[in-house]
């Protein structure tokens, strides 16, 4: 659990700035194996949810053109140091992960 994600969350000028790095192939389903000519099957994160202090701040829907090992940065007003940030994602195969961090 949480192994796929690194979260950095800190207060900058009164706003919480959060950056998440998620390890995921984000395979579009268009890329072909040069040896066989077959397309690698699509395997990409479809939804990401972020909460701060238990409140949902962002619900993202992604297509496969988001880069491999996706980066996501967002900012939240009204958050404070010590608040808990929770990021969860689910991909098109139903795989999921969830990670937490505390705003520094």
């Amino acid at each position: 659990m949480a192994a796929s994600m690194k979260i950095r969350a800190r207060m900058v000028d009164g706003t919480a700035q959060v950056v998440v790095l998620i390890m995921h192939p984000m395979e579009t389903g268009q890329r072909k194996d040069p040896a066989t000519g077959q397309a690698y099957p699509a395997h990409f994160i479809q939804s990401v949810t972020a909460t701060v202090d238990g409140r949902t701040v962002m619900e993202a829907q992604w297509g496969p053109a988001i880069s491999k090992n996706p980066l996501l940065g967002f900012r939240v007003r009204g958050a404070k140091a010590g608040d808990k940030v929770v990021i969860s994602w689910e991909d098109n195969k139903g795989e999921k992960d969830r990670a937490e961090a505390t705003i520094a």
């Binding site: 890329r31 409140r55 619900e59 993202a60 996706p70 929770v86 689910e90």
Partner: protein, 156 residues
Amino acid sequence: MDQFRRNLLKECGAGGALVIAAAAGLLPASPASAAPRNTEGFAAKSLADAMASIDAGNAIESADIVITAPDIAENGVLIPIEVTSRVPGAESIALLVEKNPFPLLAYFKLSNGAEGYVNTRFKAGQSSVVKAVVKAGGKTYVASREVKVTIGGCGG
């Protein structure tokens, strides 16, 4: 079964227990319980159809939506993009890549203090206009930026 669960279920019944647990923050926010996926939008093959799927057909061009992205992306699989909305009260940000096979790249719904700001990286197979659509205060705004791609990012 521990005493906490026993009391919860006794007090509220199974459905009520979930509500109480969710309110207590015991259940993680689940993508499955969020807004349904805009499947049609992500399957749209033209920019016009993708824009229509997010109700951006009448979006107002605005210099207050700032897209930061390289003029020339040397690596089409890792193009950084940052969008900042200077229009206050942004409720959502959508990103579209005109020449991609499926132009709708991502949709971000913002709430509870999230600012009109997003930063991510995307893939593009060829030079393309990138658009950011922001909904704020009942209006829809759009900004565009051209990104030239020297080595395509779709693996083709």
